[in-house]
Symmetry: C2
Subunit: 665 residues, 2 copies
Amino acid sequence: MTLASIDAIEGVKRPRIAIEAVTPTVDGGRFPVKTIVGRDLVVEADVFADGHEVLKADVLWRPLGGEWRRSPMAYVINDRWRGILTPDAIGRHEFVVEAWWDDFGTFRRDLTKKREAGLDVRLETDEGLLLLEGIAAQAPADAARTLADFILAARAADVPTRVAELLSPEAHAAAVAADPRAFASRSEIFGVEVERVQAEFASWYELFPRSESGDPTKHGAFRDVVKRLPMIRDMGFDVLYFPPIHPIGTSNRKGPNNTLTPGPTDVGSPYAIGSPEGGHDALHPELGSIEDFRALVQAAKEHGLEIALDFAIQCSPDHPWLKEHPGWFKWRPDGSMKYAENPPKKYQDIVNVDFYGPDAVPGLWIGLRDVVLFWASEGVKTFRVDNPHTKPFPFWEWMIAEVKAKHPDAIFLSEAFTRPKVMYRLAKVGYSQSYTYFTWRNTKHEMAEYLTELTTTAPKDFFRPHFFVNTPDINPYFLQTSGRPGFLIRAALATTLSGLWGMYNGFEICESAPLPGKEEYLDSEKYEIRIRNWNQPGNIISEITRLNRIRKQNPALQTHLGVTFYNCFDDQILLYGKSRPKADGTGVEDMILTFVSLDPHGEKHAAYEIPLWEFGLPDDGTVAVEDLMRGNRFTLTGKSQWIYVNPAEMPFHVWRLTNLPGASA
Amino acid sequence: MTLASIDAIEGVKRPRIAIEAVTPTVDGGRFPVKTIVGRDLVVEADVFADGHEVLKADVLWRPLGGEWRRSPMAYVINDRWRGILTPDAIGRHEFVVEAWWDDFGTFRRDLTKKREAGLDVRLETDEGLLLLEGIAAQAPADAARTLADFILAARAADVPTRVAELLSPEAHAAAVAADPRAFASRSEIFGVEVERVQAEFASWYELFPRSESGDPTKHGAFRDVVKRLPMIRDMGFDVLYFPPIHPIGTSNRKGPNNTLTPGPTDVGSPYAIGSPEGGHDALHPELGSIEDFRALVQAAKEHGLEIALDFAIQCSPDHPWLKEHPGWFKWRPDGSMKYAENPPKKYQDIVNVDFYGPDAVPGLWIGLRDVVLFWASEGVKTFRVDNPHTKPFPFWEWMIAEVKAKHPDAIFLSEAFTRPKVMYRLAKVGYSQSYTYFTWRNTKHEMAEYLTELTTTAPKDFFRPHFFVNTPDINPYFLQTSGRPGFLIRAALATTLSGLWGMYNGFEICESAPLPGKEEYLDSEKYEIRIRNWNQPGNIISEITRLNRIRKQNPALQTHLGVTFYNCFDDQILLYGKSRPKADGTGVEDMILTFVSLDPHGEKHAAYEIPLWEFGLPDDGTVAVEDLMRGNRFTLTGKSQWIYVNPAEMPFHVWRLTNLPGASA
């Protein structure tokens, strides 16, 4: 022994069976994969060892701290194995792949071959019985007894009988029950964040409660919002989201159109949070009391709506924290403080906290967490977080975990419009959903490329895109000149491409007057009260209502995943399908096929391919079509077809394709 | 504090700066990346944090247990950073990416912007000096003193002077020297196996020493091999590899052509290792003594050749280990032992060891390791390992690490012709090189696809392909019917596509007589002594010599990496280039462009594109060409060209392309 022999013993303990390339995982297991309760999660791994022995593999999984369950994995191809787990509860789960040497399986395989080759297998049967004895010796009492009985009987039999018995289902079952799982090895443990359905499928409506009085001279209140709930619900929305509802500071208050010279009656930006009347856990007095808020949350619930609040970590200079916790902020040498910026935007009415300031750890972190916990205790479980990319990742990872420990149904939406890797990291550290670049993707190529990135590359396992068609901050250039057809185009794209979509009010009446040259609204509701006539001519309420209903009725539209782009031979018609695979894996159950003309102005007449092949049909096959917007039904025969789109009428089609009744694929 | 506040403190310790997607790595760091001493290793990572502060990053690296060195990383694009480390010694190394908050860099960036905008920056200069004070407080004495002097002088100056001083190179240098690296975070540590050049670039020649007597009735010996060294060296080979040279068992000895009825003078397969005369650490007596072997190793060295031995872990039934260590083998219930199989091949003359047998751990593992250490101590540093895929991965990982700990220059070649993931795993656990599917890739598409997999996907970082054109086990079907041009085709492909190529003797005289219908040689040298006439007509020795010389003269051919396939509009002409990038990154220094007609029978005349763009040239540009096989020089103008290949003369061209002298790209 020229080198340390103990190393040999360490070496021999390394797993004999290789388990590689486990999917789905995020950054090698550093972060959890995301999924939805009740959905199948397909786990795959490369599993192999030296030699030619039969292997077996399971995926083991459990809610954190719970009991492990086992799902068998099956061999697919090229040493790849696949298993399925289906979480039935929300909360953090974990899984691990286990593989082992199936000694008796190897024996049965080899014995079968030799018997078929007509060889003398007496010695093999002796070996098989010895193998079972070895297995019995390590087995629990019951299994051991069954095996012992089996061995005793087989030893007494002649060779052909022995062979038949060793290859019998009974022997197989007894060996499986007693399997010592020789050379069992396990992958790392990987996390899975299982969330409620609304983390992936929900339709959001955003409004400023202060604009709900119906009278431009009167500050709206929570009780005014209650009156609006039926209309919002009738349009098919699930989540009603408010910008901040806390006391608004008066120092450096903004006037209309982001001016710095407000008049005495100007309401200021609700993002300038905090005044002597309170901070992040207080309500703006003019909106109502905590009782009024509770009544609104309850009324929303009764209408099947959920309230989402804005979590904006910034303070008006009048926020109580500046006096109570000066160490949570960064002061300049002259005792002043820098206002917030998100270049090129300037926020003169707010200051930022300093997460690593002298007294900020852990006080500030806990204080912020407790704000969220407070609203969660008031029944709010969904939080839209303002500019999370300017706050530290470790804060979010810790804070979201803390909140989910108490409220596993909490959902956080990241409002980070920044570089892609930063946006993805926020999803990794815990955000359920994220705003996206959707608003700035207007061409056919851009849209297909972006959706392909989101649904087929790494982000598919952890990043859920939320497609807002507009926000109080974003009055898209496209909509400023598109007219009503443009609003229909963007609504159709958002509702059919992503499980999550949202609109800020005004969209349904095609509001688009810009601050000249900017992507901002004129007379922005961020700085003033806006009263609107929801029934004004040209509104698209009925189309939005129909789209939201189609989403509810068609599971394929309840996620961004599973989209495929098809050939439509016009540069401005985007054609895509989303399907539900059949349970038996032989094709698709149905498909939602959507045509959207991205040109709001001209009529289009274009050739396209209807994806018959997805239904297992030949190029001259026939599918049944239901036009979900218009309600009519027809059939189409043959792969090559023509489509007509007239934006003046409706710039898109949403069809449900099925096999013809009675036809077999 | 509704939840444990200690968790906030834990959370805050998590790195503020994200370091993701570090490359190159193998299986997330489980295995080392492979490289060659003296070669630049480009390390990249995504590095980013919250906010808009200036970051810095270094890659730190060292030989295991040595001192860390730092190489600065530079920002590339989209939060990607890049640095280079250049190991100057062989052995295991490790690297880690470190990133930190460049507080003073952020200050300088912002101050510059504000000065350019003409703002009052008095307060900013105060902040800058406070920042430097903070840095000085954490700095080593020297750097702190420099900073203190600087601060004192700056405080006394007026604002414009202060600004100039704060933005001066001196201030920058002083701050860098004292940089406390705020929020420094590190990636995981990743391993790098740095090997000698021969791990990636070597030309191998294989022969059976017993065939070297020149007389078919006389057993060859090591001293006969010595006489052959000049000829092998003149052909340009670096490594001379022998099948096993140990005593050969007589039990179940194989006769000619793998028959089971040998005559008394039949020599048997050298893979039936072990007889009463000794086992894996003994020499077959008819080959010579240990002194003869040492003389051969020494003579080879003097000729610039290195000896490679075969490490075949199997035993003839006559191997001493069967009596000395019965617990290292698996016995059947009747006291017999199964012979070895590698379906469909049967090896009736050998038995396998049992790595997890009752007495095998750690005795057998140590025994096998010590065999390799013994030959290493005799000056053999390269081992071709027979069928490693039928032995446990943990054994190889442990054994190779043990040998390399004593002999960091050891090289192991894996002879695993099996499923791809198994072959790749063997490379991951420590093999420097591997046999490949090259021998069975014959069409243009197959070859390009295989090379693309090896050079652009995960294996590029750990798997080095060794392109053997034939072996004693493989008489390729292609060569059985191709005639001499086929041998030239395969030699050209192997020598220009991979840094590692090898031939088993007989190839240079175009031997191809098969065992009918099989991919085996007739009268295989595995079972009998074969005497050949090396100068027989039609031999391709001069072509092989030329190809090996071209490899030595052109660094681009000394690795499989860096190959690009180009358009040649003939289904049977493979066109590819390998280039050396210029040091300044502005294109390529030169390119070896190779045309190989894969059809050994017909002439070809085909259009192709000469890759002018790689030289930064327009489509009507001109390159200088040197025909490396024929020695002539010419120029080519314009991207579209025609090539003529006549297999009867030479089925390939190897050109060196350069910019015209005096021309600037």
